[in-house]
């Protein structure tokens, strides 16, 4: 079971080579296969996640949640997705047309690109990039541009305000996010995600880096624009923020990308702090799914419990609390490592 998918990939490659295909073509076909699987998983996962979120919000609010369509209402999101596909596409006359149109597409591209380096199990990553973690951070920083494009392109006050706010928020929380990961990097001595997983053979890093995990979690919530930090889509304040003017499929792409990012960030948390695919009995890819989902449950729990934070508190929380705390965490980690090395452990 453990090597199920890697074995399948190997068998497929060798089969294709045996058919006389050059190895590079076999690799290419395999890559397309991997990509297809990732996109299908992403899409299906979002459908499951939205349903789960609605169910969980129902559970938290003493309601039932969707239960009419399919078992436990599981097909509800499918109906929603199909409906969104057939909705009219409105491009407001005052919009900056091309920017308005491309913003959601680029947003989802960036979200999917994150999966290229995620180890979805032992040896199950598309690219085993040796700067994988850094790739994650860099690419994540690009999504701010997409939100800005959406806000600017809509030419709507709510949109631009929402976009400007969320960009200010995302750049502020990018720093503590990166800093919180440094502690992990110092312990693992690598930026390669699968090596970081291997480094957690003895202890999960959550035990050594609890502060870093907390910082990461909070900063990630802000980066995802979720929960108490949902500035770009503050429904009760900015109507729908940066997404105000988006309809149908374009809006759905934003929505898809947000959930895709949620999965990616949770999977990264599982990889960095919870030993990735490590765990007894079950194969690694199953473990990572379980851990990712558990972390996502916490994200949802937060979202359905907290009120939305005010913008100035949000900003000062990052700059005046999270950044100093994460820097102190780096310092203490460094001191700890030096100390233990001095002790000769």
């Amino acid at each position: 079971m453990e090597h199920l998918f890697t074995n399948i990939a190997q068998i497929l490659t060798s089969w294709m080579v045996s058919l006389g295909l050059p190895p590079i073509w076999a690799d290419l076909i395999l890559l397309i296969g991997q990509w297809t699987i990732i996109v299908v998983i992403v899409t299906l996962n979002v459908i499951v996640l939205v349903w789960l979120e609605r169910k969980i919000s129902g559970f938290i609010q003493e309601r039932l949640g969707p239960n009419r369509l399919g078992p436990f209402g599981a097909f509800q999101t499918i109906a929603d997705a199909m409906k969104l596909l057939t909705k009219e596409d409105i491009i407001p006359s005052q919009a900056d047309r091309w920017i308005f149109m491309t913003a959601p597409m680029l947003f989802i591209v960036i979200a999917v690109m994150l999966y290229a380096v995620l180890p979805l199990g032992q040896g199950m990553e598309v690219v085993d990039l040796n700067v994988g973690l850094f790739y994650f951070i860099s690419l994540g920083s690009l999504s701010t541009i997409c939100l800005l494009m959406a806000g600017w392109g809509s030419n709507n006050k709510w949109s631009l305000l929402g976009a400007m706010r969320s960009v200010a928020q995302m750049i502020s929380y990018e720093i503590p996010l990166a800093f919180s990961l440094l502690g992990v990097v110092m312990l693992a001595g690598s930026l390669n995600l699968s090596e970081i997983v291997t480094a957690q053979n003895r202890y999960w890093f959550i035990l050594l880096q609890p502060v870093a995990f907390l910082t990461y979690f909070i900063a990630a919530t802000a980066e995802l624009n979720r929960g108490p930090f949902d500035m770009p889509e503050a429904e009760q304040e900015l109507t729908a923020g940066a997404y105000t003017e988006y309809t149908g499929m374009r809006w759905a792409l934003f929505f898809l990308a947000e959930y895709t990012n949620l999965v990616a960030v949770s999977a990264l948390a599982a990889t960095l702090f919870f030993g990735g695919g490590q765990g007894p009995w079950l194969p690694s890819w199953l473990w990572i799914i379980i851990k990712t989902y558990l972390i996502m449950l916490v994200f949802m729990w937060m979202k359905w419990t907290f009120p939305r934070i005010r913008m100035d508190h949000l900003m000062s929380f990052s700059w005046k609390v999270l950044i100093p705390v994460s820097l102190a965490n780096i310092l203490i980690t460094g001191l700890g490592i030096e100390f233990f090395r001095g002790m000769g452990w």
């Binding site: 590079i24 690799d27 290419l28 890559l31 990509w35 996109v39 596909l85 057939t86 009219e88 596409d89 409105i90 491009i91 407001p92 005052q94 959601p104 597409m105 989802i108 591209v109 690109m113 290229a116 598309v126 690219v127 990039l129 040796n130 951070i137 920083s141 600017w152 809509s154 030419n155 709507n156 006050k157 709510w158 949109s159 631009l160 400007m164 200010a168 750049i171 502020s172 990018e174 720093i175 990166a178 800093f179 990097v185 110092m186 001595g189 109507t239 105000t244 003017e245 149908g248 499929m249 759905a252 913008m311 700059w319 005046k320 950044i323 820097l327 780096i330 310092l331 460094g334 090395r341």
Partner: protein
């Protein structure tokens, strides 16, 4: 294939994904002739006043500035963190000095109110 080639092909494939989604939507979605009112910006159902592309205050810019400084710092920190266990105490102290200098910047920004949101 090399890492970068894989990434490049992955990017090309991924670019196709939203394009495909939009093409599918284009095929199936409703296409009425929109009225003039439909294409107006939505601002709670009334006419918007003044341009929407408006001037923002300087604090956004200040945050971006401080952010930039720290972003550059991250770049220096990551290689250091990777090699931390090999580099030894001296590098650690160098990095503390580096961070301290930047913290002065943060402190200055804080003191000057650049971190105040208004």
């Amino acid at each position: 294939m090399s890492d970068q080639a894989t990434l490049g092909i992955f990017l090309l494939l991924t670019l196709a994904f939203p394009v495909g989604a939009m093409v599918a939507a284009r095929l199936f979605r409703a296409k009425p002739r929109p009225s003039q009112e439909k294409l107006l910006p939505y601002e709670c159902g009334v006419d918007t006043k003044g341009p929407s592309w408006m001037r923002y205050r300087v604090n956004y810019f200040l945050y971006a500035l401080v952010f930039l400084a720290f972003d550059v710092e991250t770049i220096f920190l990551f290689p250091w963190a990777v090699k931390f266990q090999q580099l030894g105490l001296f590098a650690f102290i160098e990095m503390i000095i580096f961070i301290a200098i930047l913290l002065v910047g943060l402190w200055y920004a804080w003191k000057e109110g650049a971190l105040k949101w208004y």
